[in-house]
Amino acid sequence: MSEAETIQDPLSIAEKWKQEGRDVAIATVVQTWGSAPRPVGSHLVIDGDGNFQGSVSGGCVEGAVVSEALDVIGAGKPKMLEFGVADETAWRVGLSCGGKISVYVERLV
């Protein structure tokens, strides 16, 4: 890995943040159905202030994952999140590509 890649690597960032004493949550794409923007195994890492690096979608659901991650950091219990097609009438975030993803969010302890 080059230095630039290491800097952007979510799990390396999670390690660094934790080392600095920050609270950290790791979100991981664990399942996808149909067209999904990021493959299974992709990570988004979030700190207690809502800073984040990496991605679990093309930007469609990161906002929702970050706010759920703050809950997970607070409560300490992992969560499984499901995102499907965006439903504009229900004002829910979703994936415009028509796919469906499951994201597992856990705290780094």
């Binding site: 890995m1 290491t6 799990l11 390396s12 999670a14 390690e15 934790k18 790791i26 991981t28 664990v30 399942q31 493959p39 299974v40 195994g41 219990k77 992992p78 499984m80 499951s102 597992y104 856990e106 705290r107 780094l108 302890v109």
Partner: protein, 230 residues
Amino acid sequence: MDFQLLKKLNAERAARRAVIHVTGVDDDDEQLVLEQDDISGELGEAVVRAFNSGKSSMVEIAGRRQFLNVYVPPARIVVIGAVHISQALAPMAKLAGFDVRIIDPRTAFATEARFADVDLAAEWPDEALKAHPLDAYTALAALTHDPKIDDYPLQAAIDAQCFYVGALGSRKTHASRVARLVEAGKSEAEIGRISAPIGLDIGAASPSEIAVAILADIIQALRKRKAVAP
């Protein structure tokens, strides 16, 4: 995730070793599995499949969901010889998603002008490989025909269990190469891993066509790779 486990995971990835992080998403438990670990039962079978395919997935074992996240080092190709074929192979391999490194101690061949934007080492292979050693996620293609340059990296590639080892040269050239490798103590099975004549047999004639044949050979070896037996 446990912080100590994350540190171990990051260390394994930095060392270019394959590793699987298993999370029991229903139970909130986890473990790290290395390629040499012997795991029994259904999880063991799932782990072997995951190492072979390099694909992360959710599996259900005894009614509990286990997420297997596979971290495989990015594949790379080390080419010995800054020759005409390498000039075609380097950009093709990059397009296909490989990291490419070219090593040739002959400074007339290994020039910036002939290899723009390529990681090029104008050094003897033993020196060049000291800084960046070969590993199981590296393919080695020896293209100089010159035993003084090719023989050392070929042996190093066998020792490092590179996922692909290929050597350019006629059957006659290869026969004398085999004799030298036997002399150096390599077994028949080890020598048999060398793809020679190099490349898939597609009747390639020009340097660019030979580069296609070599790249296809390497991709086949990568995608049909068998995990190292436990």
